[in-house]
């Protein structure tokens, strides 16, 4: 037994924490006669412990659905989702609650992802409560979490509406970190924030990963945000992965024309470079049209 454990610990670094294999998800339309619409087509990807995988795509590409399937908010139609060697795609409610210890999520909109009627402290206690942590320990944990995301200790007694967007997103991050998870799915966590706030929150996420070794599945439409935080990047289009590789490979020498177009479409704050980019984008677009 002991040697087994020992060995597992040694191998843990090479093992995938999360493996997704040919995952398909469909959403059922409203009404009786509408056919289900498939939003993910046989998506496969893997995530190692302490790694960040960036998922980029435009709206409707299915990037959020991947995150929702991992956390059980969307139902997998076929394919496998394996977390720490365990199939989880059809976990029942009881298993889900146990998995919540290890898989957490940060949502896009810091304004609607916090219950306006609950104090920050109550919100942070929520995942601890679900794990059956005793009240006294939970209170201590809340204090640690607030410190971790650089919020003042008295924040616990206040309501979300007293905080700015950036501060709220810190609360949401603290909530996700509460049960000390191994994977956090970040669904566009900074796209609702101001530029300067966005940078600060991203640096906080980086620092937390360095300190705790948590893995991130980082979902965003913004390549510049993704490359800043991700070790590897996968580009999604219409529910399929069109390109994946290290952040440098995908964002500096993109192979797929779609990735190239996305990169060229994002304007840079430099008048001359933007003029070049614009021309290159026009060429890429006409090339795609031809």
């Amino acid at each position: 037994m002991n040697t087994d454990d020992e060995e597992r610990r040694v191998n843990a670094a090479d093992e995938m924490l999360l493996t997704i294999d040919e995952l398909c998800v469909s959403y059922r339309g409203r009404g009786l006669r509408t056919r289900p619409r498939r939003v993910l087509h046989e998506v496969s990807l893997g995530l190692r412990p302490g790694e960040t995988l960036g998922l980029v795509g435009e709206s409707g590409s299915g990037k959020s659905t991947i995150g929702r399937a991992i956390t059980g908010l969307a139902r997998a139609e076929s394919g496998r989702i394996e977390f720490a060697g365990e199939r989880v795609e059809h976990a029942d409610a009881r298993r889900r609650r146990r998995l919540a210890k290890d898989i957490q999520m940060v949502f896009q909109d810091p304004y609607t992802s916090l219950d306006p009627a609950l104090t920050v402290g109550d919100t942070l206690r929520e995942p601890l409560l679900a794990q059956g942590v005793p009240a006294k320990q939970a209170a201590a944990r809340v204090a640690t979490l607030l410190d971790r995301v650089q919020l003042p200790a008295d924040a616990a007694a206040r309501l979300p509406r007293e905080f700015s967007g950036g501060q709220r997103q810190r609360v949401a991050i603290a909530r996700a970190l509460a049960p000390d998870p191994r994977l956090v799915v970040c669904d566009e966590p900074v796209s609702a924030l101001d530029l300067t706030t966005q940078r600060v929150v991203l640096e906080l996420l980086l620092e937390i990963q360095e300190a705790t070794g948590v893995s991130y599945l980082f979902i965003s439409h913004d390549l510049s945000v993704v490359r800043f935080l991700s070790h590897r990047v996968a580009v999604l289009r219409d529910g399929r992965i069109v390109e994946s590789g290290t952040a440098a490979e995908v964002t500096e020498t993109p192979q797929h024309p779609y990735t190239r177009r996305m990169l060229l479409a994002a304007p840079v704050p430099d008048v001359d470079r933007q003029r070049e980019r614009r021309a290159a984008f026009a060429r890429a677009r006409s090339g795609a049209a031809a």
Binding site: D109, S113, Q131, G165, L195, V268, F281
Partner: protein, 588 residues
């Protein structure tokens, strides 16, 4: 464990004279009825036939009824029956309707289908007929009838709870609670019940009034109970027999019923005002006194000759201040003296973070500040005409003819009830006076001008049938339809995907150059600035901190805030290094 909300709704109800008054009446009635055994220890049944129909006497302020019973004792004990049984019906309705409604809304699917079907069935039943039938089958016991009544009014709570829960189901914080691993019952009690609390309280107050009325009606008709136990309805029924000889006997039970139900209704109104968060409604009325606007047409003395000399003929803003009404009637200034110029054919970028006042400034140009906001001072010249303090008609003429507006959210700015074609044609007919056929032809031209491939099809479409990028093209077509010379665009590409953004920026550039438009472009994206703008004004906390040529602002910013904005841009940040195995953390 829940911390009290800083603004206690209970206190808000009591501060409202309506709420305080009705609550006092209800408390008084309840206390009197509950204390009946203390006030009238003899009970209501002791009667002396000699006192029948006697008027007020010492210790008997309301006199005696036809059987010689003390009218006050009858009211007190009758109230126990009436209020108690109405309360029972309300309780049954709550117990049945609330949890079922919450579950139906939250779980949806089959549970909701069955629940809603059953509820619709109950609602389709005629209440009085069911009650009469129930009496025939179950006997004339009031308690039983009240349980039946409770079942009959349960649907009102079911539908209310279902609606709120179904709305909440899509909220992110419910998703977050699910991801946190909370079981469904915990999510329902912790998050959903709280949200449904306020509307249920209001509804309960209304339903209580209805239940009291029903109970009294049953008593009056004599179908609920024998003559033995007094009730307000029964008293009315008794008094009715002698309505011509002793009409005063109708008054007391009638008054008791009327006061109680009216108090309940008014309390419901006060609760709604307090709970359904309508901040500053009362105070808004108080601040309506129009303060004179300080128009500053010639700011030469205040700002020096340089500033006065350079007023642009197209759009020129000087010393603009905008304020919003606060909760206590005090105004909060959000824009503090902004100076801007947009010359013909020039693109000016207005840059800043959220809350910097850039959108407020842009909306002031259009005279379209949201409710509660107003221009408190300064001067806005459009095409040489002063618009601060100008009347609505003059503003409308400017908005239609000289200024066009491109909003941020393309979808919410199109009316879902009308086709694209009719929405675009309307201003053409109203402002340019075109006929129906001319307008339709012009709409197709406009759609073609914004590079829509199949204009005829798009003109026939409803907003939900087109994509976000297409919707933004349509709105741009609308903005330029009356051939304006100035375009105000508020974050026109923020809601769009990058590749669509690039196309929309190209379109704006082409239109701007072809028609020599002045463009005031509000954005937070410095890349968009580099792409489109000639000049840039950087805003922070309601003031402009730096203005200059786009190249100078982006490449050699002077103000530290501009530098901070540029530093936060991630385009040139280093890409993250490839992943490396790290020492595993202990598997504790």
């Amino acid at each position: 464990m829940r911390a009290p909300s800083p603004r206690s709704p209970l206190r808000a109800v009591l501060r409202n004279p309506l709420g305080a008054g009705s609550a006092a009446v209800l408390l008084l009635v309840l206390a009197a009825v509950l204390l009946a055994p203390v006030l009238r220890p003899g009970g209501a049944q002791s009667s002396n036939i000699l006192d029948a129909y006697d008027g007020a006497a010492a210790g008997h302020p309301f006199g005696f009824d036809g059987a010689g019973r003390d009218e006050l004792a009858m009211l007190l004990y009758g109230g126990r029956a009436t209020l108690g049984e109405a309360g029972l019906a309300l309780l049954i309705a709550l117990i049945l309707g609330l949890p079922l409604g919450l579950c139906a809304g939250y779980f949806a699917g089959r549970f909701d289908a069955v629940g809603s079907w059953a509820v619709n069935l109950v609602m389709a039943l005629p209440g009085m007929v069911v009650l009469l039938a129930a009496r025939a089958v179950l006997g004339p016991t009031t308690v039983v009838l009240m349980v039946v009544l409770g079942v009959l009014i349960a649907p009102s709570f079911f539908r209310l709870a279902r609606g709120v829960a179904a709305d909440l189901r899509g909220e992110l914080f419910i998703d977050a609670a699910r991801v946190a691993g909370l079981p469904a019952w915990r999510i329902l009690t912790r998050h959903v019940l709280v949200a449904v609390r306020a509307p249920v309280l209001i509804q309960a107050s209304l339903v209580a009034g209805v239940a009291i009325g029903m109970q009294a009606a049953l008593g009056f008709l004599g179908i609920s109970t024998g003559v033995s136990a007094p009730s307000w309805g029964g008293m009315l029924s008794d008094a009715y027999t002698s309505i011509y000889t002793h009409p005063i006997l109708m008054l007391w039970p009638g008054l008791a019923l009327g006061l109680t139900t009216a108090a309940l209704l008014l309390l419901a109104v006060a609760l709604r005002d307090a709970l359904e968060d309508r901040p500053g409604q009362a105070s808004a009325r108080r601040t309506r006194r129009p303060e004179p606007v300080r128009v500053v047409p010639t700011p030469a003395a205040a700002a020096g000759p340089a500033r006065a000399a350079a007023r642009s003929p197209l759009l020129s803003i000087r010393g603009l201040t905008v304020a919003y009404a606060g909760p206590q009637g005090a105004e909060r200034e959000v824009v503090h003296g902004v100076d801007l110029d947009v010359r013909p054919g020039e693109v000016l970028g207005l840059v800043g973070e959220s809350g910097s006042g850039k959108t407020q400034t842009a909306l002031s140009v259009l005279g379209l500040l949201p409710l509660g906001g107003r221009i408190t001072g300064g001067s806005v010249l459009i095409d040489g005409a002063e618009t601060v303090g100008a009347d609505e008609r003059a503003l409308r003429r400017l908005r239609g003819g000289v200024v066009g507006y491109v909003p941020q959210e393309p979808m919410s700015n199109l009316d879902p009830c009308f086709t694209i074609g009719s929405q675009l044609a309307e201003p053409l007919r109203a402002v340019l006076g075109l006929g129906r056929r001319e307008a339709a032809a012009r709409v197709l031209d406009l759609l073609r001008a914004v590079e829509i491939a199949d204009p005829a099809r798009v003109a026939r479409s409803y907003p939900h049938e087109i994509s976000g990028g297409m919707a933004q093209r349509v709105l741009i077509a609308g903005a330029v339809s009356c051939e304006p010379r100035l375009l105000v665009a508020d974050e026109p590409t923020t809601a769009l995907d990058v590749s669509v953004q690039a196309e929309i920026l190209d379109l704006l550039r082409r239109l701007q150059q072809d028609q020599n438009l002045g463009l005031l472009l509000v954005t937070h994206n410095l890349g968009v600035v580099a792409d489109l703008c000639d000049r840039v004004a950087v805003m922070r906390a309601g003031a402009i901190v730096e203005t200059g040529e786009a190249r100078q602002i982006l490449h050699a910013p002077e103000h530290e805030h501009t530098r901070a904005l540029l530093d936060a841009v991630l385009d040139d940040a280093p890409v993250r290094a490839p992943w490396q195995a790290r020492p595993t953390r202990s598997v504790a």
